[in-house]
Structure formats: C-alpha cells, structure tokens
C-alpha cells in the first residue's frame, strides 16, 4: 500500500487550502469568537464570526496546526460565509457526521461542496479530531449567538 493511500487524505483541494488558506486572519467587529486547542498535538484554532440579522456576514480564523486542521478551517469559512445561522449549524452537524463515516443527505453534501472532500478523513481515525477542530469551535460560537 505505502504512500499511495495518502492521496485519499491529502487531496489537491486539501493541500491547496492548507497552503493558501481562505479567510485566514482576524475579522473586524466580530460578534463571537472561540479558541480551541487539540491538547494531544497542540493544534490551535481561533474562529471569529460576525452575525448580522441572523446571517453570517463575515467569518475568519487564525492559528496553526497540521495540513488537515488548517485546510478544514479554511474550507469551513468558505462554506459558512453568507449562510444563515440555522443552516450553518445544520451543515456543521452534517460535516461532523461525514467525517465520522456517517451518511448525510444530498442537499447538505452539495452545500458543503469542497468541504465534503474532508470526509475522507473518516478512513484515518487518528486524524478526525484535526478535521473537526474549527467546526467544533464554530458550533460553540453559533450556539452562543443563537442563545443570546
């Protein structure tokens, strides 16, 4: 088998998003922020979001970590930009199902777009946490936003 299997995890989209992350940086006037750390490896991601009238008007992330955690954060920001909070949370749930090897419905998969490609991490159980980090952080931020 050897390194060929790496292609299943490190697809072009993932390498590209890790090398050229989208929406990386601190956004202006965030309405919510959350920093999460993966204590086993030290990966650290901070997400910030600006919710305006129930919609995600701006979203960004900072931090450092492995290819998977960086690419996953980048792809997440692209998916969630402009979505209403309810849809965003549904997509976060769908994403976490996908990376644990579960099935999701076609509409959600379509909305996830490139981010759905991260789903192949399901076959690399030791790396699921890396993929999930940014999405967990975002879900907590949006949960607080909805409750306040």
């Amino acid at each position: 088998m050897g390194l060929a299997k790496l292609n299943e995890l490190y697809k072009t989209v993932i390498i590209d998003n890790a090398n050229y992350p989208r929406h990386k940086g601190q956004i202006a006037d965030p309405t919510g922020e959350m920093q999460l750390k993966n204590p086993t490896c030290g990966d650290l991601i901070k997400v910030s979001v600006k919710v305006d009238d129930g919609k995600i008007a701006d979203v960004g992330f900072t931090g450092s970590g492995c290819t998977i955690s960086q690419a996953s954060a980048s792809l997440m920001t692209t998916v969630l930009m402009g979505k209403d909070v309810k849809t965003a949370r549904r997509l976060i749930l769908a994403f976490s199902k996908l990376i644990s090897g579960g099935d999701i419905d076609d509409e959600d998969e379509e909305l996830l777009g490139d981010a759905a490609i991260v789903g192949s991490v399901a076959e690399f159980p030791t790396r699921i946490k890396c993929a999930a980090l940014a999405w967990h952080a975002m879900d907590e931020v949006l949960d607080k936003t909805q409750k306040s």
Partner: protein, 418 residues
C-alpha cells in the same frame, strides 16, 4: 533481515504483522514497549495456577501469590542495585510514583520561600506535581536550562540549586531530547545544599544499567510498561531512612498494622504505601520482564542501541530540511530521536509514515514547557528498543524522504512512484 539483539525479535509476536499493507516497524518504544512471550506466559501461568490475594490468606494459593509478588520485588531491587526489598514500593506508574513523592514527602519538606528545582526537559509528570507542591507551600519552582546542544546546562544547574533548594527532580534520560542527564553529579550538588534528589527513571531504566546507590539518589521512579512489562505497574524507590519517615498517601487494607475505632498505625515500608489489593500479576510480570532483560544483559542492550543510533543519527541529520533535536554527536544521543521536517506538521509526517507501516509518535510528548523552550508546537519522535534493526532504520529514513517528496510535489508524483 536481522532479528535484533540476540535474535530477540522472534520473542515478540506482535512485531510480526503488516500494518497498512507493509511490515510493521515499531518505533514508539519511548511511549511503551512490546511484551515478549515469556512475560505474557508468566501472566497466563499466574492466573492459571496461582491466583489469590496477597498477604491475607493462610491457604496455599495465597502463599504462592505472596511469595511470587515479593520475589518480584527482590528482582526489582537487585535490578537497580537497591539495598533491600524494603526500598521498593509498587505503584501504578512513574506518574503515580512521582505524585506520591511530591504530595507526601514534597509537601512535608518544602516550606514557604523554599525552592524546588526541575529542568526544561521534564515530562509533565515531573512538572505538574511539583507545581502543585510549590502552590500549596508558597514555594518557587525553578528550571535548569539547556545548552545549545539540548543537554542539561550544568553551569546553570550550579546557579539554580541554592541553599533554599529543598528538592531537585530531574529525568535520568529525556523522552524528547535523547540525552542522559548526569544524575550522580546533580545528586552531589543537591546534597551539598542539603536538598533531596529525585530522579525520573522512566526512559533510563529500560535502556541502561541503573545503580541507585551509586547515583546516590533519594528517590527513583519508573514504569514497567516501558521495559517489557504490562501497563499498570510502576516502581518508587526511596532510601530506607526516608521511606521510613514518609507518610502514605493512600489508606485502607493491606497497609495497616493495627486499626482501632478512632486510629490506626501502619506497617513498615514499603508495605505501608501499598493500600488495597495491588497489581499482583503486573508485579510478577515485571519480575519476568527483568529476567528477560538480565538475560540479554543491560550493557549489551545499551551497546546495541548505541549501534543503532550511530547508524541512524548521521543519516537522519543529513535529510534536507530536517531539524533533529538534541545533540548530533551519536555518542551523546540515546535511541530517542525527535525531529521536524521543514514546512511539514509532525502529524502529517506521522500519518505518512503510518501508511508505510512505521509507528512513530507525533505531538508534544507530554513536555509542553520543553516545546515552548524549543519554540515548536510538536515534533515527530522515533524511539528504538533492542528488537529494532538497521533495516528498520533504513525503512524510516526512506519513508521520510518519500513523505517529503509527497508533500513537496503533490499527489500526482506520489501516484507515479507507486
């Protein structure tokens, strides 16, 4: 393919398997070692023939279990040249040993304004318990720094250890930097200031001959699982006069002498520390692991591992864009090799190696203060034991080059090389 020191590889059935379609190369021995058949058989035999609780029965099985449990204690004592079985306390692990030393002896000895001295290369289990003591007692926790090479800076040690120092606690061998620290010299330094010397032997006891009397340490801690025994059994060695004074941290059955309604007193050391039913099969298996190691000879093990390091380290440091931590002189380096490839996260490297059947660790290795000190978040770590071979070292070196290539050239190139 060579079969490790004295063909020992054949005694470890777990090594004979494929992982991700490739023959397994197990290089995570600093985390835990594999277990030889003889140790596994000892556990089976104990449960098939002799299982009973210790120190509490008059029946024959209880006597056999107790006899084997205490015989294993004697083997441990002889293995580290401790003066008697009374100085050998069974614990769960290095972590538990260090916690008992800190929470009982540490809290009793350290007063407000005193100092505890550790180093920048300690494992969390030799950091956090001392932070707790410092906090409880309003004492100061000080760190001995490292040289540019990654060795303990003895000049700094002489500055940090002062008349205010009550305890010096240092790893005998580092789980990240691949160095062996001069514990004997540190103990002399500590004693010259009337401080006590605690050594964390988790990474040394499995790999080199330890003589606690020659080192003149007051305490020594290590784990069975890093030296062929199962998880859940560890050792706390203490000088006899110190253990006699030290209070237990756990209370209950086994450890008592007499119990009345309002008060109790304890057995003598080491039994006063061992409350409740202990890990009997683990202790007996540790005795069996020590038999195995003695049979190979600790000096032979050290020499064989040194050969692996002499072979691997120069090749490793030559990989383009690699940072290898710790001394680059193989003579100063143990079989613990920590490194990073430029521009690649250790997690990605470790996943790549795993796809090639090679098990290494990636992360902060429970040494976050050291990672901060080195200004890196994490490293990859390959660690040898006597059953590893030069062929396996080559597999590691080749795979590292492949992984580098994969991430440099993207997926297409790697597909072509399949």
């Amino acid at each position: 393919m060579s079969k490790g020191l004295n063909d020992s590889r054949t005694d470890f059935p777990i090594l004979d398997q494929e992982v991700n379609g490739e023959p397994l190369v197990y290089l995570d021995n600093a985390a835990t070692t594999q277990k030889p058949v003889s140790v596994l058989q000892t556990i089976m035999h104990y449960y098939e023939h002799d299982n009973a609780n210790v120190h509490r029965g008059v029946h024959t099985l209880a006597e056999r279990a107790t006899e084997q449990f205490e015989a294993a204690r004697d083997k441990v004592a002889a293995f580290i040249n401790a003066p008697s079985r009374k100085t050998i306390v069974y614990t769960r692990s290095t972590t538990e040993s260090l916690n008992w030393i800190a929470s009982s002896f540490g809290n009793a000895m350290v007063n407000e304004g005193d100092e505890i001295v550790i180093s920048e290369l300690e494992h969390h289990s030799n950091v956090v318990p001392w932070q707790q003591v410092a906090k409880n007692q309003h004492a100061t926790l000080k760190y001995i720094g490292l040289t540019a090479d990654g060795e303990l800076d003895m000049d700094d040690a002489r500055k940090q250890i002062t008349d205010k120092t009550k305890i010096v606690a240092i790893a005998h061998a580092s789980n990240v930097m691949g160095v062996v620290n001069p514990i004997k010299e540190l103990a002399q330094l500590a004693h010259a200031h009337n401080a006590y010397m605690v050594a964390d032997g988790a990474q040394s006891t499995p790999h080199l001959k330890v003589d606690v009397q020659d080192l003149d340490v007051d305490f020594y801690a290590f784990s069975g699982h890093k030296m062929l025994a199962p998880t859940g059994i560890g050792i706390l060695y203490g000088k006899p006069e110190i253990l006699d004074e030290m209070e237990p941290t756990q209370f209950g059955g086994e450890m008592i002498n007499e119990v009345h309604e309002q008060a109790a007193d304890w057995k003598e050391s080491p039994w006063k520390f061992e409350a409740g039913t202990p890990n009997i099969s683990g202790a007996i298996a540790l005795g069996s692991a020590i038999d195995y190691l003695n049979n190979l000879g600790m000096d032979n093990i050290s020499a064989y591992e040194q050969e692996l390091v002499d072979y691997t380290l120069p090749k490793l440091t030559q990989i383009d864009g690699i940072t290898v931590y710790g001394p680059h002189d193989p003579a100063k380096h143990t079989g613990v090799l920590s490194f990073n490839l430029e521009g690649l996260h250790p997690h990605d490297v470790a996943t790549g190696l795993d796809m090639d059947g090679i098990a290494v660790r990636a992360g902060h290795h429970c040494a976050q203060p050291l990672m901060e000190y080195l200004s890196c978040e994490a490293t990859c770590r390959a660690s040898f034991y006597f059953y590893n071979t030069k062929e396996e070292a080559d597999r590691l070196l080749d795979a590292l080059n492949e992984v580098k290539e994969f991430f440099a050239n993207g997926t297409s190139k790697a597909e072509r090389t399949v």
